[in-house]
Amino acid sequence: DAGVTQSPTHLIKTRGQQVTLRCSPKSGHDTVSWYQQALGQGPQFIFQYYEEEERQRGNFPDRFSGHQFPNYSSELNVNALLLGDSALYLCASRVQGFGNIQYFGAGTRLSVL
């Protein structure tokens, strides 16, 4: 049973560019969340998708946007990249429902130069 898969593994961009990160949830999961993890810090919640809609959002600017597809996979888009966007971006999936465990992918390491 495949777990949460993310692509690409690593990405290097320059300031001002746009990036798209992809996530396939664990089999049977229908809810996807995205987190940003800076070096030496805990993950910070970006947003959550369920039934192809954004259901909850953290304190991130509108440059961060997302999408969920009918097969439950998801994309994270970041526009007008800043140096401070350099981080590990984590996708987590779960079955919709209170308190259900979120399982994480290995993440995409984004470096903005």
Binding site: V4, G42, P43, Q48, R55, G99, N100, I101, Q102, F104
Partner: protein, 112 residues
């Protein structure tokens, strides 16, 4: 505002030397507390979830406990393979929504 604080930030133990990691939280109505393990360059790996004060969960050398203000992750006779960053998170949200609010983590190094 919900907040999670972990201590210590880093911990170095000799193999076999038991210790505890602390996670203190302030949250308006605890809906769940989660412990994850994260190895360098990897995503967090789920360990335990606790829902009410007094609850305890065990897995191999790890035991998680929960009070109204904090949670402890006890590590008994650790081995070098237990070296990792341990993350604590509280579940924030209502109904079926839910985001995890993480602490900054405790990086554990176990020397042989």
């Amino acid at each position: 505002e919900d907040q999670v604080t972990q201590s210590p930030e880093a911990l170095r133990l000799q193999e076999g030397e038991s210790s505890s990691l602390n996670c203190s939280y302030t949250v308006s109505g605890l809906r769940g507390l989660f412990w994850y393990r994260q190895d360098p360059g990897k995503g967090p790996e789920f360990l335990f979830t606790l829902y009410s004060a007094g609850e305890e969960k065990e897995k191999e050398r790890l035991k998680a406990t929960l009070t109204k203000k904090e949670s402890f992750l006890h590590i008994t006779a650790p081995k070098p393979e237990d070296s990792a960053t341990y993350l604590c998170a509280v579940l924030h949200g209502s109904g079926n929504t839910g985001k995890l609010i993480f602490g900054q983590g405790t990086t554990l190094q176990v020397k042989p």
